[in-house]
């Protein structure tokens, strides 16, 4: 479990000063959404070539180590295996290849499984690239800004963004705290690694109770500290860092537009 905590890279930010890091967060968010949509437009393997090129280029420019990107895939390995497995065995049609017990493997199954597996991988890599290169503050700033137009229909954009900022801010703190309490209880002979499911769940109590208490204490302290500094929501609040769309962003938009163009065109290719 201690090992598992170490591998959580989703939502983590790696500071940097590259082209990708410096893009306007709003642009980055929208381009990421467009990237995800384009993933679902693709119907052929050939389309993935362009996605792969686009991702490789982005990773290269962002200077995020490739090993880091792969590590981010580890937590979804179970989902990945499940997706591939289900598709391999339960897709009818195509030529018969082999069978394991009552389950038949067909060429269509293998094709679809690979297709879905790749889609999932690209999806995770694409979105983790967004969070790896955007600081949580910039990210929520961008989201708040994008949601502002919906304020008139009663959407509390600022409050939502603030909640996200705080949640993101406390993820590393809580992980650290978990690690610390776990070690303290292990030093008292607690066992988090063996036993059946019920026993394991019960063994978590010495971890969860202190964790919740400390989370509530932190929340309480934070609320008091914010109030002491006269925080009263987004009302009349100005920003230290104004978001601005620059030439850099237009270049990124252009690249993404080319990608989307090729992918739509790809639908009409014969292979």
């Amino acid at each position: 479990m201690l090992i598992m905590l170490k591998n959580i890279t989703i939502g983590q930010y790696i500071p940097g000063n590259t082209f990708i890091h410096r893009l306007d967060p709003r642009v980055k968010i929208i381009l990421s959404i467009i990237f995800i949509i384009s993933l679902f437009i693709i119907t052929k393997f050939s389309g993935y070539i362009f996605i792969l090129l686009f991702l490789l280029l982005s990773v290269f420019v962002s200077k995020i180590p490739l090993s880091y990107i792969f590590k981010g895939l580890k937590p979804i390995l179970v989902i990945l295996i499940l997706t591939v497995g289900l598709n391999v065995f339960f897709t009818p049609g195509g030529t018969y290849l082999a069978s394991i017990g009552p389950l038949k493997i067909t060429s269509n199954g293998v094709r679809l499984a690979l297709f879905m597996g790749l889609r999932l991988i690209f999806l995770i890599v694409g979105t983790s690239l967004l969070t790896l290169t955007t600081s949580p503050i910039a990210l929520t700033d961008g989201i708040e800004n994008l949601l502002t137009p919906f304020k008139s229909i009663g959407l509390p954009a600022h409050e939502l963004a603030m909640m996200m900022t705080i949640a993101l801010r406390f993820i590393p703190t809580l992980l650290e705290e978990t690690d610390k309490i776990m070690k303290a209880q292990m030093a008292r002979g607690a066992d988090f690694e063996s036993g059946n499911l019920v026993k394991r769940a019960k063994n978590l109590i010495p971890l969860l109770v202190p964790l919740f208490i400390s989370a509530f204490r932190r929340a309480d302290e934070l609320a008091v500290a914010m109030e002491a500094r006269c925080y009263r929501g987004g009302f009349n609040r100005t920003k230290l860092k104004q978001l601005k769309v620059s030439n850099r962003d237009y270049i990124a938009i252009l690249f993404t537009a080319i990608l989307v163009g090729i992918i739509i065109w790809n639908r009409f290719w014969p292979w």
């Binding site: 170490k6 790696i14 180590p65 090993s67 880091y68 590590k71 610390k180 309490i181 070690k183 303290a184 209880q185 292990m186 030093a187 008292r188 002979g189 607690a190 066992d191 109590i205 010495p206 109770v209 202190p210 208490i213 400390s214």
Partner: protein, 285 residues
């Protein structure tokens, strides 16, 4: 029980952009029944070091031998954790049970002891840390911070480890609470012959209690030896932001002014004795 630490290094988040070296080539020996102080500035690696001593952290390189067993290669560390008890920094944050009794009993019941034995150990531990047995059925969360700290320390004591490690047990306590806890730790060391390791960044606390000091600086051991020896390196200690007890400074100034006192005075009482002796000597002359 003895501990040998041989050339251990430790890196947090190895192989990620957040890599940070916390220990560099640390070596020392702690003999049976010693009372050792580990001292160092914030971030010098004290907490990281002690977590190695019962296998909670594994060194990136080097090895640790506890009572003749190499714990760096050992898989099952239950036995080691039984023998090496660690009271963590701010241990009151680890309390979780509904009653004080149950919380202190958590460790011993994990050891699989009989109910009678557990009860005896819980009461003993409560008595040692100065908690009234009458409050055993109260919730630990109704107590003050200092009392909670005592419950947490009792929770480790009740396991009766052979080696007791305390990570800044006095952090955040008032002077009275601090002195009481330090006094109790000293008593525990004497009564149970536990090898004791006390982590602190206050020289004053440590000087009076321990028979060996390990000074940590930026992940390395910078000085090691008996308090009297270590405190002779005033300049070195000041350079790494530690300093020596106030009384050592006073004696040093007096010596500079030609007053003949020993150069290894650690406590106010000692200093008083020597100064009076000196004054009497002057009177007689």
């Amino acid at each position: 029980m003895s501990i040998q630490v041989e050339n251990i290094s430790f890196v947090y988040n190895e192989g990620t952009p957040f890599e940070s070296v916390a220990l560099k080539d640390v070596s020392f020996t702690i003999d049976d029944n010693e009372f050792v102080g580990i001292i160092g500035h914030t971030g010098s690696g004290k907490s990281t070091l002690i977590q190695h001593l019962n296998g909670l952290l594994k060194p990136t390189s080097g090895r640790i031998i506890v009572n003749g067993i190499d714990i760096t290669t050992k898989k099952d560390l239950k036995d080691i954790r039984k023998e090496v008890g660690i009271v963590f920094q701010y241990p009151e944050h680890q309390l979780f049970e509904e009653t004080i009794y149950k919380d202190i009993a958590f460790g011993p019941s994990n050891l699989g002891l009989s109910d009678d034995e557990i009860e005896k150990r819980v009461y003993d531990a409560m008595r040692i840390v100065g908690l009234d047995i009458k409050i055993k059925d109260m919730s630990p969360f109704e107590l003050s911070g200092g009392e909670r700290r005592r419950v947490a320390i009792a929770g480790v004591l009740s396991m009766m480890p052979k080696i007791l490690i305390l990570d800044e047990p006095t952090a955040g306590l008032d002077p009275k609470g601090r002195d009481e806890i330090l006094h109790q730790i000293k008593q525990i060391h004497q009564m149970y012959n536990m090898t004791t390791i006390l982590v602190s960044h206050s020289m004053e606390d440590i000087a009076k209690l321990v028979n060996k000091i390990i000074v940590m600086h930026e992940g390395k051991v910078s000085l090691i030896g008996a308090p009297k020896e270590v405190f002779k390196h005033v300049e070195e200690l000041e350079k790494i932001g530690l300093g020596v007890p106030q009384i050592t400074y006073l004696v040093r100034e007096l010596r500079k002014n030609g007053i003949d006192l020993p150069d290894d005075v650690l406590t106010v009482d000692e200093a008083k004795k020597y100064i009076l002796e000196y004054l009497r000597g002057v009177d007689n002359a």
